[in-house]
Amino acid sequence: MVKKLITRSRLTAISAGVCVFLAVAVLALGCKSETFPDKPITMIIPFSAGGANDMMSRPMVPLAKEILGQPLNVTLMPGASGVTGTAAVLQKPADGYTVLFVTEGPMTVLPIVQQVPYKRSDFTPICRLNTSGMVIVTGKSSPWKTFNEAVEAIRKEPGKYAFATAGLYSTPHMAMLALENEFGLSFKHVPFDGGGAANVAVASGDCHLGAPNLSVAQALLKSGDLKPLAVTSEKRMPELPDVPTIKELGAKVSVEPWRGIFVKAGTPDNIVKILRDRFGKLLNDKRYVQELEKLGERLDYLDGPDFQRAWDEGFKYWSDVLSAQKK
């Protein structure tokens, strides 16, 4: 059936070629490069396509070659609320060629409340990209006009009022837990599959309260289907100048989950320094900031050491809040 395609002489030629190729490859691998980076950097995002992290990484790509020195390959590895992709970074060598772009959830909250296959000390922060606060909202048909009215009603009947969130330990849920902790409240937590569904539940009156990110809720706020009662950020949001912050209303903390870039711990110090410098330059570049604002986000950059401190503080706060919650 098969014609004599593979003659003896052809086989010899092919084998010789393969040997030469292997030899060259081994030699090439053996050479350690002196300059970092000398091949493309992979950025792992542990969330799915179209999500906020994905969208915010896009404007980095055209600037990467110029500022980082090498192209940036963005790889999406969704799963388990960010745990899958985060754990995947640890499977790679600690050589600085794999960075993680993640939110606070998998890095601070999930290690406290779930068995995750990593520890905080497995990661070295490169820098923080931004923070975003949430808006505490209630539905159009709700009788509450101010945050304090809501608090009074909720204190009278603990556990009665339904709080819609984008999922267990999502950023809106974190806001809810902070509210419970700071104001002595008790809600009925109703998790949904994502912010959109949660907003619909609050707008339709199925749930009494919600805490979406501003960008997700903007349209419903404008149409009046959602009423803002408070914001969880440190300062008032320019889009909602009349809405008080929870700090103004008596909370001791603000809730602004961050997004940041990390590498595997154990990466050589000089490489960490290079990454910190260069990502710092890239994120603060006017062109990137402009693109970020078009997406409805704002830069809130913190360099490596400051970010580590902020992360640690956040971890301490959430450990306290969540251990108070654990039954």
């Binding site: 799915s48 396509a49 179209g50 999500g51 994905d54 969208m55 896009r58 404007p59 790509v61 790889t75 999406l76 590895m77 969704p78 799963g79 388990a80 609320s81 745990v83 899958t84 754990a87 068995q115 296959p117 339904a162 999922g167 267990l168 330990y169 009925k188 109703v190 998790p191 949904f192 599959d193 959109g196 569904a197 907003n199 619909v200 539940a201 707008a203 339709s204 199925d206 749930c207 960008s215 997700v216 903007q218 349209a219 419903l220 404008k222 149409s223 289907d225 693109e291 078009k294 997406l295 409805g296």
Partner: protein, 502 residues
């Protein structure tokens, strides 16, 4: 309003706009056909390209991608029993059997025409009465969604031939769906310590494995065992000379209209996507048909219904997106991002502030369907030529494609193993006559079924009494009972042990 629609026309005079739309449809169709590349992935990858283009080119391109992407999955669904996207799962039910009978060209034509017709109907309605439609979006909370999914499962899960085996398949699907974190997010179930299983078995690799691998394997074994390769037996499929005739198309028009309306409504409800519309439309048409036994053997209505419905969803999904800024599905989520990057803030102010652009886009959605028709024909031609490649080259190529597809869904090698394992499961099920579609349907919908039920119970503080105040949900559940009864009673009893001819 007529004035603003007229304004919108000015948007369409520019030929570059049509070019962008056509390019989008073309790329979308190919991306849709390739398994593992979902419409969402394609859109997420290409959306940033549009940030550098002016609005009038970028958005039509994405809309074209959306349209083409939803249809494209039908190509491989019909030719290889492999839905290129979830939306086309139902298209395999009748599309593949028809192709095996030698009428692939007719099946492909039907899928294209139905998609175009469906989207034409729903986008025209959208253009005319968008405002009132938006009210539907907020009416579907957890109780209604739970009832709707129960309805969908009942409608399709029990397919005609052997209800008992279909039930077993459906239950296997539900069991597989429980693997992973429970819907409310507390406990890990059956993950065996494997990180990748935390979010459950990935659907796309499982679907590829169960639907396509058994087919590839049987083709392969047939040829190996037969040993002879005669001229006629060389190609995978006999595509057939005749396309769809006008008579056949017109006979399916009532089906397409009903399915399109269904798709439009499903699209408006934010939580639901093309898959559910396609499944519901298929199930509905089968129940309403005077000859339900035709379905599953290659009935043209069986292709027309899901394809019309799934494309009709596109227009519906634009409603919550444009009026509330709520994404109807992942694709519209990407669209919202693209809109915002072009300084168009989705929401009630969008139409007020940018009437020319908005009505231009809606008109584009309507008229763009004709572009889809033309471009779709071209794509069909490409794939038909491809399928004529002799099987001994094609089957290995498809196998590689299928592995790549399973991997690229989540960039995960574990998914490839999932696909292979499901392939074995699929072969086993096929061998013993258990239908696979009910399994896939309950597997796909199981998580959400449980989530909506849990949320409903949460809202009702542990009891289902909340349903008393939810007429839509009650009505759906009642209809479900009727459908079940109707399916079971005339037989008198389940006919156990009846062999199915697949």
């Amino acid at each position: 309003m007529v004035g603003t629609i007229a304004q919108g026309f000015s948007f369409l005079v520019d030929p570059a706009v049509w070019g962008a739309l056509a390019a989008g449809v073309f790329i979308g169709a190919i991306a849709g056909a390739l398994p593992g590349i979902t419409t969402t992935t394609a859109m997420a990858m290409l959306a940033p390209v549009t940030f550098y283009l002016p609005v009038r080119l970028g958005i039509p391109f994405l809309l074209g991608l959306y349209k083409g992407g939803v249809w494209g999955g039908a190509i491989t669904a019909i030719l290889l029993n492999l839905p290129g996207t979830n939306a086309s799962i139902a298209t395999t039910f009748d599309g593949y059997p028809l192709a095996k009978k030698g009428y692939a060209r007719k099946a492909l034509d039907m899928s294209l025409y139905a998609s175009v017709t469906g989207e034409l109907i729903s986008s025209s309605i959208l253009l005319l009465i968008m405002g009132p439609l938006s009210a539907i979006a907020l009416k579907f909370g957890p109780p209604e969604l739970f009832a709707l999914i129960v309805f969908a499962i009942a409608l399709i899960g029990i397919s005609g031939d052997d209800p008992l085996k279909a039930l077993v398949s459906a239950l296997i699907g539900l069991v597989l769906a429980t693997i992973g974190i429970d819907p409310l997010g507390g406990a890990l179930r059956y993950t065996l310590g494997i990180v990748e299983l935390r979010s459950g078995i990935s659907f796309i690799p499982a679907m590829i494995g169960m639907l396509c691998l058994p087919e590839l394997l049987s083709i392969f074994s047939q040829r190996v065992l037969r040993r002879s390769v005669s001229a006629e037996g060389r190609t995978l499929l006999e595509v057939g000379r005749e396309g769809l005739t006008l008579g056949e198309y017109l006979r399916c028009v009532p089906t397409m209209v009903r399915s399109a309306l269904l798709g439009l409504v499903i699209g408006i409800i934010p939580a639901l996507s093309q898959v559910i519309a396609a499944l519901l439309a298929y199930g509905l048409e089968k129940r309403l048909s005077p000859k339900p036994e035709k379905f599953g053997q290659g009935a043209l209505e069986g292709i027309a219904a899901p394809e019309a419905a799934n494309n009709a969803v596109n227009s519906g999904a634009m409603v919550p997106m444009l009026t509330f800024g709520i994404p109807g599905d992942l694709v519209t989520a990407v669209l919202i991002g693209a809109f915002m990057a072009n300084n168009l803030k989705p929401g009630p102010t969008l139409i007020r502030d940018n009437p020319r652009i908005m009505y231009g886009l809606l008109l584009l959605m309507v008229l763009g369907n004709f572009v889809m028709l033309v471009v779709g024909k071209i794509c069909m031609g490409i794939f038909i030529s491809a399928i004529k490649i002799p099987a001994e080259y094609l089957v290995p190529a498809i196998s590689v494609l299928v592995v790549l597809g399973a991997f690229s869904a989540n960039n995960s090698l574990f998914d490839v193993w999932t696909m292979i394992a499901c392939g074995f499961l699929g072969c086993f099920l096929k061998r013993y006559g258990f239908p696979i579609p009910p399994l896939l349907i309950t597997f796909l919908l199981g998580y959400r079924l449980e989530m909506y039920l849990s949320q409903t119970l949460l809202l009702g503080n542990g009891s289902l009494s909340i349903l008393r105040a939810r007429p839509i949900a009650l009505w759906l559940l009642l209809t479900t009972l009727i459908v079940w009864g109707w399916a079971v009673v005339p037989r008198g009893r389940f006919r156990v042990g009846q062999r199915t001819a697949s």
